[in-house]
Symmetry: C2
């Protein structure tokens, strides 16, 4: 039976028979939020990466360690948290010292950069996979949730969209481009996504909601809209596409990737009109572009699209490991 990851989680693990008073958000946002003191909330997230599903078999261990941590940091970024501690459960088919050295060197470099500490580890034997548990802190009451968007808010994304999937397709030899600089840039965007941690922290006081783009814009914005009981209108002409993509691929391909491809790990967030003017002060210094791509509408409007100022119809689904992946169920 084909069944999506989100549906499975909701159906079998969405129950909350015991609702602890210290749990502010359980399953359903980028991180769980638990209140540990009057001033502090912990943000906790966990992600598994399986060989052949989430990463290619021949990925360099340094890239793998980087990406595994980046993916988890991106969840903290989406909630506006300060990264703090990591747990790593690593399952290995065999002991390869060169692999382990390269993996752990890369992991610790990246942890140091974020002043994080690895606090727990488990190594087991089995097919190559890993589960990271990431913990961050956020001042109580300031976490960015998916559920805070309001009608009239503006929808933004950081960076550019679709580069990661182009890099993946290049690595898989599904597409080819001759310009080596472009090729390297796209592959780097796939292997070394930069989690928008400083942006998330800067948006704590300004954004009404946020999510990181792991599954694709339509899918991930859909989570904000569902949690906030809103609709939205996206301006397709405004979607930020990198010059590398524009130069090497058709506008239609670029649009398709921007809307539905996963793993860009940019932030998508909504901002009330009154906070728009403050965005430049908050985000400008980080040196990464941010772009207004649409507006929040009432729920009954659904998700609609404008192109050349006219409504257009689009049918695209998000990226879901139990539905979309190659060799899937």
């Amino acid at each position: 039976m084909a069944c999506g990851e989100f549906e499975l989680i909701s159906r079998y693990f969405g129950r909350e028979l015991c609702s602890r008073h210290d749990v502010e958000e359980g399953i359903g946002d980028d991180c769980a939020l638990v209140n540990v003191s009057e001033k502090k909330t912990l943000a906790i997230s966990t992600d598994t990466l399986v060989e052949g599903v989430h990463f290619l078999r021949d990925i360099h261990p340094a890239d793998l360690a980087y990406k595994a941590l980046a993916v988890n940091l991106s969840d903290l970024a989406a909630i506006g948290a300060d990264p703090a501690w990591l747990t790593l459960a690593l399952t290995l088919p065999k002991v390869n010292n060169n692999w382990l050295k390269a993996f752990s060197d890369s992991l610790f470099d990246f942890l140091d950069y974020y002043q994080m500490q690895l606090i727990g580890g488990d190594i087991t034997r089995g097919p190559l996979s890993m589960t990271l548990g990431i913990h961050g802190t956020v001042p109580r009451g300031l976490a960015l949730k998916r559920s805070g968007a309001c009608v009239g808010d503006w929808i933004y994304v950081t960076g550019t969209l679709g580069d990661s999937v182009a890099g993946l397709q290049l690595l898989r030899d599904k597409i080819n481009i001759h310009d080596q600089v472009s090729r390297d840039a796209l592959i780097r965007r796939h292997l070394r996504p930069i989690p928008r941690v400083p942006q998330g922290k800067s948006l704590r006081d300004l954004a009404s909601s946020a999510i990181d783009l792991s599954d694709g814009l339509i899918s991930d914005l859909g989570h904000i809209l569902e949690a906030s009981s809103c609709g939205a209108q996206l301006n397709l002409d405004a979607l930020p596409i990198s010059s590398v993509i524009t130069k090497n691929f058709s506008a239609q391909q670029a649009l398709r990737w921007a809307l539905s491809s996963g793993e860009d790990y940019e932030l998508c967030f909504t901002v009330p009109e009154m906070n728009r003017a403050s965005l430049e002060i908050a985000l400008g210094p980080h040196g990464v572009s941010y772009t207004c791509i649409g507006k929040v509408f009432p729920q009954e409007n659904g998700l609609t699209f404008l192109k050349n100022h006219k409504p257009v119809k689009i049918c695209l689904k998000g990226f879901d490991h139990f539905r979309m992946h190659e060799g899937c169920i």
Copy 2:
């Protein structure tokens, strides 16, 4: 290359380039300890279970959910923590609704019993395995660490030793016993170990160190002795063996299991002489036996054994997934 799990963790992941001021214990105890307020410490632990390595392929999903949680609760018990929140990363080869229903029903029953809440989940496609991240709280300064044992302290264990491995051998048809009641009791001890959470909490003010017996008494007591820079003398005649084992197996087999077999999930702890008298008040009401099995000695004495009041030599190694398991590297 044959290489142990503990050695791998220490060699590749034991670095602490960034030592955060809020991390009281990083890698190396049953749980990591992080201080989140002036009064509260969080205990965090993560464990992975892989099909064919940590559980049998035909295990019932209800038993699997129970055991996965029990194993992690046992880590909290060893630190003296109150269970609070769980994250679950589940990797499944395919979607089987009956399996998922039985697994999740069992998990939530057990979570409710401990007033815990599942706060984060991830479901991915791949070979069956799961990683649980468990979080508990302990009053600041009262966590039971491996490093607190002192020369002269008495060594105790809860419950009885070796039942779990006998249950596993029965399930694997490696041994057989005809008495169905005994057989069921041992299998139950393997499939449904009871984490000693209330005992751990009661020991906060009394024990100088503690660990849970996941890898076998010699291996796990060894961790206490190493962390505390001590030696120990164990009285083999005092090791608590269940009547089921005594009735069905030789004394030698029972002794071997008690010393070196894993997954009993009892607590091993050390108690200063002055606190011994308080143990009955603290542990008695929980209805599980506890037994003094030896004494902490200076490190230079190493680990020695007494039988019939005379020194004996024993050579046994612990249970380590990269060294001991069948079909291992």
